[in-house]
């Protein structure tokens, strides 16, 4: 039946777009995080994602940051798809801000003991705390709001279709 296949195709496109949203969320805010580390706003940069694994010395240098951004991009695709199936129905942008905040709590409180070299929140200092918190909030806003907007607009795109 042509109609159902069209629908599936549409859904496939929508999933693809959500994956792209995730990728760009990682790319844009990963780069911002890198700049913030470079300008000494924050002690941690995108290479934080490499910390738990024993890799070569390169993970503490520039290359580590860029590989970190790449990994964050891939992780973000997963997060975007996760957001789609869980929170995307809630259209408010505050939900996505909360999502970012939640991610920050997850990384800096829950995962902290498993990340060698990441100090506890107490020791991080207020510059690093505010910088990372704001970055996670903006990341959450970008990712969550975009995904829920995409889900919403692919749903009622029929309403204005021609004829």
């Amino acid at each position: 039946m042509p109609e159902t296949s069209g629908k599936e195709d549409k859904q496939g496109k929508s999933l693809g777009r959500i994956a792209i949203i995730g990728f760009f969320a990682g790319l844009i805010w990963g780069l911002v995080g890198f700049v913030e580390k470079y300008l000494n706003f924050s002690k941690v940069g995108p290479s934080l994602i490499l910390k738990p694994w024993a890799l070569g010395d390169w993970k503490n240098h520039l290359l580590g940051e860029f590989i970190g951004i790449l990994l964050i991009c891939l992780l973000s695709i997963f997060l975007a798809l996760l957001y789609k199936v869980t929170l995307a129905k809630i259209k408010s942008i505050w939900m996505s801000v909360l999502f970012g905040f939640f991610l920050w709590v997850l990384v800096f409180y829950v995962f902290q003991p498993w990340i060698p070299g990441l100090e506890t929140v107490r020791e991080l200092g207020k510059n690093t705390i505010t910088t990372t918190l704001c970055l996670y909030i903006l990341y959450g806003l970008f990712l969550g709001y975009s995904v829920s907007f995409e889900v919403d607009s692919s749903k009622d795109s029929k309403a204005y279709s021609n004829k």
Binding site: I21, F24, I93, T130, T131, L141, Y145, E150
Partner: protein
Amino acid sequence: MTTVVKKTPIHKRLKDNVDYLKSRLDIGPFNFDVGHRDLKMLGKEMSIFYSNSLVETPVIVALIQNMNFITDNHNGARNMFDLLKTHFSHLQVSEITSLDEVVDKMLSGLIILLIDGENVGIVVDTRHYPGRTPEEPDVEKVIRGSKDGFTENIIENIGLIRRRIRDERFRNELLQVGERSKTDVCISYLKDVVNPDLLKAVRSEMKKINVDGIPMADKSIEEFILKQGWNPYPMVRYTGRPDVAAAHLLEGHIIIIADTSPSVIIIPVTLFHHVQHAEEYRQVVAVGAMTRWIRFIAIFTSVFLLPLWILLVQHHLLPGNLNFIGPNKHNYHLPLLFQIILAELGIEILRMAAVHTPTALSTALGLIAAVLIGQIAIQVGIFLPEVILYAAVAAIGGYATPSYELGVANKITRLILTVLASVFGVPGFVIGVTVFIVYLARVQNLNIPYLWPLIPFNPTGFYNIMLRRAMPTARIRPSILKPQDKYRMPKQDNG
């Protein structure tokens, strides 16, 4: 408000009508630009009402000659009214029945012919409004491309657009706004493209406007339609270029044209409509993309350069290989923040002065400004050279912003961020930026997120912002407008 206005009908006796209009409009010494001319043709009394500042006299003279000619040729005709109405040598002739309409039409520059014994008047459109001819708008100059621009005349403005879109589905709805000013306002759109809900919303907002007059034309209308409060960011785009207006109509936007204003309103728009310029579309794609990127950098600089600089140098955050960035000597007298605010104030005062200064004196003003701020202020120790440099670069970035309104809004943001960065350091700056972005993301402009296509992210839309597409590949209209017709390229029969 549904007050039924009782209309005064036109009387049968001409004298009653003349007396009524004379007393209502004080025709004579108290109101010199309205008048009436009594005529007698074939024994019938008749009178022409006009307002002489808005009519084209040669046309009226020709019409009266024409009337004499008609009556001479139809000597003995019974029905003077029909005779004149069918034989008037003019395009726009219509009938009216109430004296209120007579007043309205007369004050918009039409002439009304009232004939004794008839309770219907004939209206002839002989309007000629004082105005100038189209010329290129000052703020949107291009190197190539059409050099015509909107004028203060709504008819001419619609004509300029109509010349670019001869589509039968192009609509211009005229309505009058202002209880006293009765300003003509036009909503233009492509009937089969525009989103009908959007059109309905705009129309109902326009009809709700209840005010005595809108001398500031399109700006006043914008304030009535989009209640934006204290948000400094521009919610509509203004343009003085008919080609830009036509391009947006084709994308599915609505254009609002107000009489007496040489700019038109484009709605709905996002932040990214304010960072584009017609020039980009007159160059090849690669050049257009490059100009656009440079423009983005300029706009970004105008917001973030000053706060970043003061943050890095005042709170000693400079990374090793950027250590050369000054000030290296710490013997300055005034705190950096105070210097920046002084410099910003100076630049702003200079800008205002430049706007008001006649061209003959502007060279002198420029010289004084350059010498005063550029050199002497540094020599006497008020400013560090760095402050002047960064403040000037930020100011130039502001001037490179295609939309003047956006440039001014960015200036406010820059000042706030600079103060936050200087006083509260890193937390102040990052929290300031975050609040700024979240605030703008939350703004909904006629149901369209203001930061689209960045937040919420839309890959296609974002691509079109970052790189301008060549016309043949720009196949679809921006999805955010939810146009009825998504495709820009009509299907063609190749048969």
